[in-house]
Symmetry: C2
Subunit: 147 residues, 2 copies
């Protein structure tokens, strides 16, 4: 991580996860800048990466000095999920139409998943993981991301 200014430091210290993201996903690990979470939808292997900076809505609002760190973390998660899930395609998106706090979707797609080839949004209700599935996946991802 680069040396950061007082202003950015304050933005980090006043970060608080949006309640909807907290409800819909499970904490996996904290990277240098971003929190990585698993979306509670067993239909698609789906990470959500949230840079821990208050008042961020758009990708282009990320402070210049932190841009390379954010994208390093996005690429790290994308590459790992692609490998673990043997994905046919990764889908990466920052939308935020419903939850304004900047969060980046990292979704492993398969040619035989229920939404293929369409995007995963608006495909009906999420199907939660069983407790065992969820614990195993969170542990596996945390172990790999913390290496």
């Amino acid at each position: 991580m680069p040396a950061i200014s007082h202003t950015i430091n304050e933005q980090m210290e006043s970060f608080k996860l949006h309640a909807q993201l907290e409800k819909d996903s499970i904490f996996i690990t904290k990277l240098d800048l971003s929190q990585v979470r698993l979306n509670k939808d067993s239909r698609f292997p789906w990470l959500i990466l949230i840079p821990e900076l208050a008042n961020l809505r758009e990708l282009h609002e990320i402070p210049d000095i932190l841009q390379s760190e954010v994208y390093r973390e996005v690429h790290l998660c994308s590459k790992l999920l692609e490998e673990l899930m043997e994905a046919d395609k990764m889908n990466i998106a920052a939308l935020g139409n419903l939850v304004p706090q900047l969060h980046i979707h990292i979704i492993a797609r398969k040619h035989d998943d229920i939404a293929w080839p369409q995007p995963v949004w608006t495909k009906g209700a999420a199907i939660p993981y069983t407790r065992d599935e969820q614990d195993r996946l969170v542990n596996q991802l945390a172990n790999r991301l913390d290496q």
Copy 2:
């Protein structure tokens, strides 16, 4: 742009735009690395940014040395479109389920657009711009991006 290796130079030289992207969008300008195009759908102000490198499918496949340039260009387009369209929210995504060549969607969303708050994909057929609208928008965007 940073100094680039022989391999990356070859990747740049052998780049060829995918026929579907060529058909569905109009050339606006070429930035240092990426081609910027306007999606032929007047329902949403929608840019498509294509880094001119052959054989790229995933964001995490962008050569390290070019990552900051790609994201600089994404942010430039996003900020400009947000401002020109007085967008309520920007949607940025790299999906590629239908067209495998890496391309990044940069879409200005409004609270009163026909898909809000859902993503724009799978919202029915595109409505083309009139020739005048299209020319005006392409010129306006090219002028601002070429500054």
